[in-house]
């Protein structure tokens, strides 16, 4: 630890050196190294001028494999810290100097960007900007699609200028987050225990599942699942699920409290592993879930399906933001890291976990045609589908729950969001948990 810290200070101390100068020096050094038989395995400039970037974010994308590959490809050391979404927002706002790269979700971005601890990125420096899935730029997957409710990534993806904190309604040169990872969420079920087809969000309210259901206890996400359930059950029709009025919040929470008192829920989960354990142990048979949690349950040999539902999906997306304090060589390294992130290897890695990556064209090149057809096109697997770690996730012939990328991301009903009445919603949500 202390060694890494010194490395970082060393790098910061060298920030006066220009990027071009470094490149020249590196090329010269590289030539020398090759000539002198001293090949180090770190081909880039960062091997000579070690750079450490401290990244933190939610567990989903803070993967050691990415840090290792990044070190091998770029020579940049990534120090990853995984936290839950609440802790992430807290760190961004209150400990601005404790990180270099923030891996946060778009709804968190809406909340924290105004604190001024992140700097917008110049899209001209993002090599694959033009190939980023349009959900994150114009908001429309295809020119015909409708923008879903909630904090859609395009609404908080850009600011008006390099020092602006105001979100721009249309794409500008200044991007707040570079999208990295996103997915469409739905309910997970135990097909062996539910004993009937599950088609709608309201099926979680079925009296047959009394005491065997669960929803996520992160207010800003849980309220969206609750809204999907309430709307499906015909309790209420929302103007915008992602930005409810006080009355809509009241109706939703009152309904949740009534349902809780009737004993419909077994538990509320807050972390990934809690949701896996609830499902794998059979404590619950239908619940809010994240897709890798479904994969984790399945890898224990327990049947689990990520059930597509008629009302559509609740989507979420995350991206990398750069800390305000980054300058010089470190800032260059951060851009380089982000360009590398979008260049395909990471994208393929994420796609193989069941998430989606922001630049599909580069990811495709890093996947086999069979993998691409299975994960992205929703076609039956021709051979066994392996996880990035090489474990069999699906056997030949299996089809991905929910089908192709267009079918899944095209059926998004709402995005995870933060509402104008956030404080009121959170208070009422706490009431629900305490009830």
């Amino acid at each position: 630890m202390s060694k890494k810290t010194t490395d970082r200070t060393g790098a910061a101390g060298a920030k006066g050196v220009s990027r071009r100068g470094l490149l020249k020096g590196a090329a010269a050094l590289g030539g020398l190294a090759v000539g002198g038989q001293a090949v180090t395995g770190f081909p880039t400039i960062w091997a000579q001028n070690p750079i450490t970037l401290r990244q933190f974010g939610t567990g989903v994308s803070n993967l050691n494999a990415i840090a290792e590959k990044c070190k091998a490809d770029l020579g940049i050391t990534l120090q990853m810290t995984a936290l839950d979404s609440d802790a992430v927002s807290q760190r961004v706002v209150t400990q601005a100097n404790s990180f270099d790269i923030a891996d946060i979700e778009y709804w968190i971005c809406k909340k924290v960007f105004a604190a001024g601890t992140l700097q917008p990125m110049d899209v001209n420096k993002i090599k694959y900007y033009d190939q980023i899935v349009p959900i994150f730029t114009t908001g429309k997957l295809t020119p015909e699609s409708k923008i879903a409710q909630g904090t859609a990534p395009n609404t908080v993806g850009f600011v008006e200028g390099p020092d602006s904190k105001k979100f721009a309604p249309a794409p500008t040169q200044w991007m707040t987050l570079i999208p990295t990872i996103y997915n469409a969420d739905t309910l997970g079920i135990r097909p062996d225990l539910v004993g009937r087809p599950i088609k709608n969000w309201k099926d979680i309210l079925d009296p047959a599942f009394k005491g065997k259901t669960s929803i996520i206890n992160i207010p800003s996400i849980g309220i969206m699942d609750a809204a999907m359930i309430c709307e499906s059950a015909g309790i209420i029709k929302y103007g915008d699920k992602g930005n409810m009025t006080k009355a809509e919040i009241d109706t939703t929470i009152d309904f949740l409290i009534k349902t809780k008192k009737a004993g419909q829920f077994r538990a509320f989960w807050k972390t990934f592993d809690e949701s896996v354990n609830l499902m794998a142990s059979g404590e619950v048979v239908i619940q809010s879930m994240w897709s890798p949690a479904v994969a984790a349950v399945r890898s224990k040999g327990v049947a689990c399906v990520y059930q597509p539902l008629e009302e559509g999906y609740r989507a979420w997306g995350g991206g990398l933001g750069i800390a305000k304090h980054l300058k010089g060589a470190q800032l260059d390294a951060a851009y380089e890291y982000i360009n590398w992130y979008l260049s395909g290897w990471v994208g393929a890695y994420l796609n193989r976990q069941g998430y989606y990556s922001a630049v599909l064209s580069t990811a495709e090149k890093n996947m086999t045609p069979d993998e691409w057809a299975f994960w992205m096109l929703g076609q039956p697997a021709k051979a066994d589908i392996l996880s990035p770690e090489g474990k069999v996730m699906y056997t030949a012939g299996a089809v991905r729950d929910g089908g192709s990328f267009e079918q899944r991301m095209g059926a998004v009903a709402c995005w995870n969001s933060v509402m104008d009445e956030d404080r009121y919603m959170v208070r009422r949500w706490n009431e629900f948990i305490a009830a």
Partner: protein
């Protein structure tokens, strides 16, 4: 002459400095922040009472505090009975001092593991398809799994009793060991029954130990949040959990106000205990 006058102050200085830096200062900060204002991302220095107003006027606060007090009373009562029982057995029924120490150390063995692990290990045991339900069902005692075992108040109290009983055993055992055995013989010679000896001699003399154990248990339960969260499956609230939620949502001033209220409440409880029992008398 002067040195002997300064010496006591010098002796007290290190502790005073440590307490000032790590106890008084943080608490003062919490009290200060509890009067600050906040929005969804920032807190700003101010002097407002809204945090206290919102906390005290909200029915959620009241039900949460009542719930926490409920846990405290139940856990305190159970740990007291169990703790006294164990300590009494160790002190009066085990004759050899070596054996007493061996058995006492055995009591502490579970505490060699972290309390989170001891708590979480209850979950697979009590679950719907857990060990207990499976054994009961295979023995034919029940034909439906017992649902109340996990993610319920029962589970919370069970885990807390398991975690905190030793805090009751230790001080009570300590006071029981100090009781002069001649007093018990004298009571017996004077014709007291075993029960009379217990109620008239042993319990009164064990009061300081009971009081210290009670202070431990009450403060631990009042401040707990992780046990409540895991064992109730997020279905019940405690004051600690409420604060953890507020901190998670960056509502530091509200959490600070809550912390101050909790601190006052716990201090009142401790004061009440000390009022009933003079713990210094016997130590």
């Amino acid at each position: 002459m002067t040195l002997s006058r300064i010496a006591p102050y010098l002796q007290a200085t290190p502790l005073t400095l440590i307490l000032a830096a790590f106890l008084v200062l943080p608490i003062a900060t919490i009290v200060m922040v509890s009067f600050w204002d906040y929005d969804s991302i920032q807190i700003f220095p101010a002097f407002v009472f809204t945090n206290y107003e919102e906390t005290i006027t909200s029915p959620v606060t009241w039900s949460t505090y009542l719930n926490t007090l409920k846990y405290t009373v139940i856990v305190w009562a159970v740990t007291l009975v169990v703790g006294f029982w164990v300590a009494y057995y160790l002190a009066f029924h085990i004759r050899s001092a070596t054996m007493q120490m061996v058995l006492f150390l055995i009591c502490t063995i579970p505490f060699l593991t972290s309390n989170i692990i001891r708590m979480i290990s209850w979950i697979p045991f009590l679950g719907r398809n857990g060990l207990l339900n499976q054994s009961l069902m295979s023995m034919g005692v029940i034909d439906q799994p017992l649902e109340f075992l996990l993610f319920s108040d029962f589970a919370v109290v069970l885990a807390m009793v398991h975690l905190y009983t030793l805090f009751m055993v230790t001080p009570i055992f300590n006071t029981l060991m100090r009781i002069d055995r001649a007093l018990i013989e004298a009571a017996r010679d004077a014709g007291a029954s075993a029960f009379q000896i217990l109620t008239n001699v042993i319990i009164p003399l064990a009061k300081p130990g009971i009081a210290i154990g009670s202070i431990f248990v009450v403060t631990l339960v009042m401040g707990d949040f992780i046990t409540v969260r895991f064992m109730s499956g997020g279905q019940s609230a405690s004051v600690g959990l409420m604060m953890a939620n507020q901190i998670a949502l960056l509502q530091y001033p509200a959490a600070a106000a809550n912390a101050v209220i909790l601190l006052v409440l716990v201090l009142l409880l401790v004061a009440a205990i000390l009022r009933i029992v003079n713990i210094r008398k016997e130590l």
